[in-house]
Each structure stands twice: as C-alpha cells, then as structure tokens.
Symmetry: C2
C-alpha cells in the first residue's frame, strides 16, 4: 500500500499544527479556538496536537514564540504566594516584550486592537483569560480581579511608552531596572498598601 | 471708508484663532507650534491671540476642549507639594478622559500614534513637555523625570484598557473609585515607597 500524505509523527506534522494554530489564533483570538479545530485545519488527530504540545496554552506559547512555557512561568509567579509576586509578574511581562520574536507580533496585535476594538487580540485574551485568573485565589485583597486588571494596565502602559512610543528615559532603561521600579508598584495592588 | 473683513475683536476673531490653533496643533503637535504662527494662519496680530487666550497652554486647552485651565489645574496639583500629589494627578487625568469632548480627540490621537509613531500626538507632547516638568522641582525622589514617566505610563495604561478596550470590571468602575485605587499607586512614584 502506498501511503498518501505524511504519516502522523513525521517531522512536518508539528509544523502544520503550529501553522494552523497561528492562523486560527490570529483570526479568532485565544478563547474561542479549540484544539479540535486546530487539529482539523492541520489535518491531524487532536490526540497528536496534545502529544506534541500538551495543553492549548503551551501550543499558543509555541505559536506566538513566547520565550517561556506558560505552565512553568505561572508556577514561578505563583510560588511563594502574594509576597514578591509583583516583581515576578513584571519580570515575566518584560521577558515577553524584550524578546523581538514575541514583541513584534504583540505590537502588531496592539495596533490592530487600538484601531479596531473588535479585532482579535489573542495575547491579551490569553493573559486576561488564562493566566491572570490563576493568581486570584492567591490574593487576599478586596476585589482581586480589579487589582490584577489595574496591575496589568500599568504594565501595558509601560510597554506602550517604552516599546511603541520609545519615550526617554524609559525606552533606554535596562529591563532589570524597569522591573525594579515597576515590580514594587505592581505589588501594592496584590497586597494592601503599607500605610505611609 | 468701507472696512473689509472682520475688525479685530469682532466675535469671530476668537473662533478663527481657535480654528487655526486646532489645525496647526493637529498637523505639527504641540511644541513646534508658535503663537506667532497661529496668529498668522488666523490672519490676526499675535497680541490679539494673547489678549483672548493668554498663554499657548491656555490656547491649547481651549482648542482641544480640555475641561479645565492648565494654569489653575497645575497649580492645584502642585499645591501641597509631593504629599497627595498622586491622587491629584490621577484626578486631573481622569477628568480629561471622562469628558467626551476631550476624550474623543484623545482616542483619535492615540490611535494615530499607535499606527504611526511619527504622527503628531499634541496631547502627549503637552503633558510630557509642558505639564509634567513643572512637577519635577517639587519631588525629592531619585530620577524624578523617570518616576513621572512611569506614573504617566500607569495612567495611560488604565485609560487604554478602560476607554479603548473597555475591559471589565475597570470600564464600569466609577471614576472616583478609580482615582482612589490608582492615586495611591501613582503616589509611590512621587515619594519613596513606604517599607512593607
């Protein structure tokens, strides 16, 4: 019997899955895209998607060239609870923005979302829908979802002024100094502000 | 003698100056536009621009429908020095964004600036070039310009998520609750963070 097409597990199966994932996430955002749909577009069995990439989160991370594994990164941010979480979150956030291969598509998505608020913004959906909610049970402040949203807003504002507007002195500040400045302020959303 | 055109001081002189100012600020940003140039485009004497609007700042505020006078507003923010300045800054910032007549042109400028970083962004120039530098001498933190820029970044991020992305719960939060949450965090940039 002559086999047609590629067998499951051939080198390019992984590439076809990634290409399908990239296209679908860009078209429909993060939340509404399923592994089943990605498998169908790639022409493979959904089990093979799980085999290569594990969860949808890990597949997303690979598709958009995130410079870390979400499962590991979230684990690190949450480890130790609220104490120091602001700095760990800022660190993770700027890791994504400092790497050109994840920064460039992010800026493109951000521009698209600014011009058309209905445009899919898969990265924002991924962060606000999949990552941030996991921090909620670790926080003992009132209204933790709002607090996380305000913390995210701060990070987004810095990203826009630093990487898009390239405002000085912020644009030239070494990333670790930025984390050292912003992390403790993020922290004041995750724990109550110390009295001044 | 039959006079042609309008005499200086006739009702529409003010309107012509405003129209010229609006067009020039939109075209060239804030810093590079002079009163002299505005007067020339409006076809009036520069002294008349000063007569009607006082400073370039006040003219800008009128041209973009800011819901306050910059001189008075800056005076209020600076009064009392660094203590409580974060809340006063946040208050002022959200006053601009809450008023639809100043919010809509701001969103338009922001979109333009995101798509084309070379596009003029008169409001951002006005804030970062004319307003924020006045706070610098009132602060006794290291690197006050960077601190003010990070504070501004936080405010910008909240504005984008609240007014452009309309992210909930932030979008529906009453403005005074927003100021109460964000103001004390802005404050940690203007005074040193209390030890936690």
């Amino acid at each position: 019997v002559v086999r047609r097409g590629r067998r499951p597990g051939e080198p390019d199966t992984r590439g076809s899955i990634l290409a399908a994932a990239r296209a679908l996430f860009a078209e429909a955002g993060y939340a509404r895209v399923t592994i089943r749909r990605i498998a169908s577009v790639a022409g493979v069995d959904p089990a093979l998607v799980h085999h290569y990439f594990g969860t949808k989160e890990e597949l997303f991370a690979n598709a958009v060239d995130l410079p870390f594994s979400p499962a590991e990164a979230v684990g690190r941010v949450l480890a130790g609870g609220a104490a120091g979480m602001g700095e760990r979150l800022a660190q993770l956030f700027f890791t994504v923005w400092e790497a050109p291969e994840s920064r460039e598509p992010l800026i493109a998505q951000l521009r698209q979302a600014m011009v058309d608020p209905e445009a899919p913004f898969p990265f924002a959906e991924f962060v606000s829908g999949a990552l941030l909610p996991r921090a909620v049970p670790h926080l003992s402040v009132p209204n933790p979802s709002l607090r996380l949203e305000l913390a995210a807003a701060h990070l987004v504002g810095v990203a826009i002024l630093r990487y898009v507007a390239r405002l000085e002195p912020m644009a030239s500040l070494p990333a670790e100094r930025l984390v050292a400045e912003v992390g403790p302020r993020i922290q004041t959303y995750l724990e109550d502000l110390p009295p001044s």
